[in-house]
Amino acid sequence: MSKINRRDFIRVTAGAGLVGGTLGFPGLLMAASPKVVVIGGGVGGCTAAKYLRKLDPKIEVTLIETKKAYTSCFMSNEVLSGDRTLESLTFDYEGLKRHGVNIVIDRVTAIDLAMKSVATESGESFNYDACVVSPGVDFKWDAIEGYDAEVAETIPHAWFAGPQTMTLRKQIESMPEGGKVIIVAPPNPYKCPPGPYERAAQIAMYCKHHKPRAKILILDPKDRFSKQGLFRQGWSKLYGFGTDDSMIEWVGAAGGGTVEELDPSTRTLQAEVEEFQADVINIIPPQKAGKVAFASDLVEGDWCPVDKLTFESTRHPNVFVLGDASSAAKMPKSAYAANSQAKVAAAAIVARFNGQDPGEPTFVNTCYSILGEAHGISVAAVYSLDREANTIMPIKGSGGLSPMDASEEQRKREVSYAHSWFKNVIDDMMG
């Protein structure tokens, strides 16, 4: 198209409809600069903030985040193998500031839905025309007796990248040769479905070089897990899985893998059938939406229901819930998913501010897992929305897993593409 680009074109043509604009923001159509408050500076929140500004620089975007810098969970399993430092996963918010996003470091206590304002711990409040909520997950601490937030300081979950990732790394480094690590996997749904199994491989990657007689046992309350066939194949190729001498062992629900109780003093786990003792224990607890979602009445069950056309809460208008906290079946809780959902929500918010209908949404997810220095696998999906079922459906005939028995060269390329994904998704959300 010539001088006038497609977006201007839409705006101009839509202008005719503005007079009668009735789509839930009646006053807004006149507001010179509508306000969006974003809660949570993780994948969903940052991406939404950046794309809102990209799509319409008139929008005033304020992002509220508790921490000064974001430490990504994705790639944090590589800290456990020693392939990466925590610093290499930590990024500040300067990039978003350059896009004109106001960054506020504070904790949101709750949304005042009637007043359309967001309250923070330090007593400030921020008015919004639209509010984006992407606080990630919180843990259900009552699931395993004897395990709570305090015990997690010494028996880490390391499911938020940060100090606990380092604690786990140090414990593995200092366990005796021939030591035993237990990973307690969570029940579905949780963030990063392949994460616990990639973690086992990353720990094995370290042990193979430094503690070749070590054992890593995964206790799992599930009978199946993400990319299972590819994990088993990769584990057996790299770590002897399936042999008597395997470094990695997996016990699923049917085998008594459900853990009921922890005795932290002896590092003993009571599972359904037997007890397990280990030198290092990593418990990944069951999960639910972040606290602020509960405090703001956005949750049904454990997660926040949304209209998947826009990611607007089905409980309260003008509030859009993204990422791990949302109930976004059939997308997994992943960074790629949160990034993709954020763009759909940003476009829907901009459309509404302009009195337009939201466009047809499109979503992609890609999750890489790195099992060894030169062994990567992936799952990919492109989705469209089934509006009637309010379900995000993978497009038939597309997507799926890396092929079984791929060549070594292909597996190696997937590692390098995994690292590319990491750099690009970080840059896309906050660069």
């Binding site: 993709s340 047809e360 499109t362 890609t366 292909q410 690292h419």
Partner: protein, 203 residues
């Protein structure tokens, strides 16, 4: 292909209706989903997924169509390409064609770059004009080097359609310089981000 013919084809493509079925997401919305791997608006920050900003739309369409039918070796793109209709692919092709290519410097070996310069001039420049800048033979200048490496491995191993003329030239370059030829060319293109950048911003 001659410049003129190329431009005519592009102009013709532009006349084709981009508006797909009413239920299709917009080309921009579809293209946004690629950013996780190919960077915001198609400028990848590396280390290996290629930049697709400023890409010739025909090259984009050919690549996606080849991925769709498993004609071109891929790790993941064959699984992804199958999700899109021809119209959607065309829409994305034009979206990315209009984006400015932002390239980052890569570390290269001076000696290899020097050899690569000679090889490029002798064997490649005729088709990959102006040091391999974006055009109807793809984007080589400033492209991520691991990606170029994979691409050449795939051509040579027969995992990707290998134009006969290109094969002759590559064979000749390898015959002349042996194992050094490919790394030299890749280092040469990898070193070209500045010239490519300057030109891109003039467009």
């Amino acid at each position: 292909m001659s410049r003129e013919r190329h431009i005519i084809i592009l102009a013709l493509l532009a006349l084709l209706p981009i508006t797909a079925l009413a239920e299709s997401p917009t080309a921009a919305a579809l293209s946004y989903t690629c950013a996780g791997c190919h960077g915001t608006d198609g400028s990848s920050v590396g280390p290996s997924s290629p930049s697709i900003a400023g890409m010739d739309p025909e090259i984009f369409i050919d690549a996606m169509q080849d991925y769709k039918v498993d004609k071109r070796n891929a790790t993941i793109m064959n699984r992804i390409a199958k999700a899109y209709s021809d119209e959607q692919i065309k829409g994305m092709a034009w979206y990315f064609a209009k984006q400015k290519l932002e390239l980052l410097p890569q570390s290269t070996d001076t000696q290899l770059v020097e050899l690569g310069t000679t090889l490029h001039d002798k064997y490649c420049e005729k088709c990959h004009e102006e040091g391999g800048r974006s055009g109807d033979t793809g984007t080589l200048a400033g492209q991520w080097m691991p990606y170029l490496d994979y691409a050449m491995e795939d051509f040579i191993a027969g995992r990707r359609d290998y134009p006969r003329k290109m094969k002759r030239k590559v064979d000749a370059a390898i015959k002349a310089e042996g194992e050094q030829a490919m790394p030299a060319l890749i280092h040469y293109y990898g070193s070209q981000h500045n010239s490519a950048q300057k030109e891109a911003s003039h467009e």
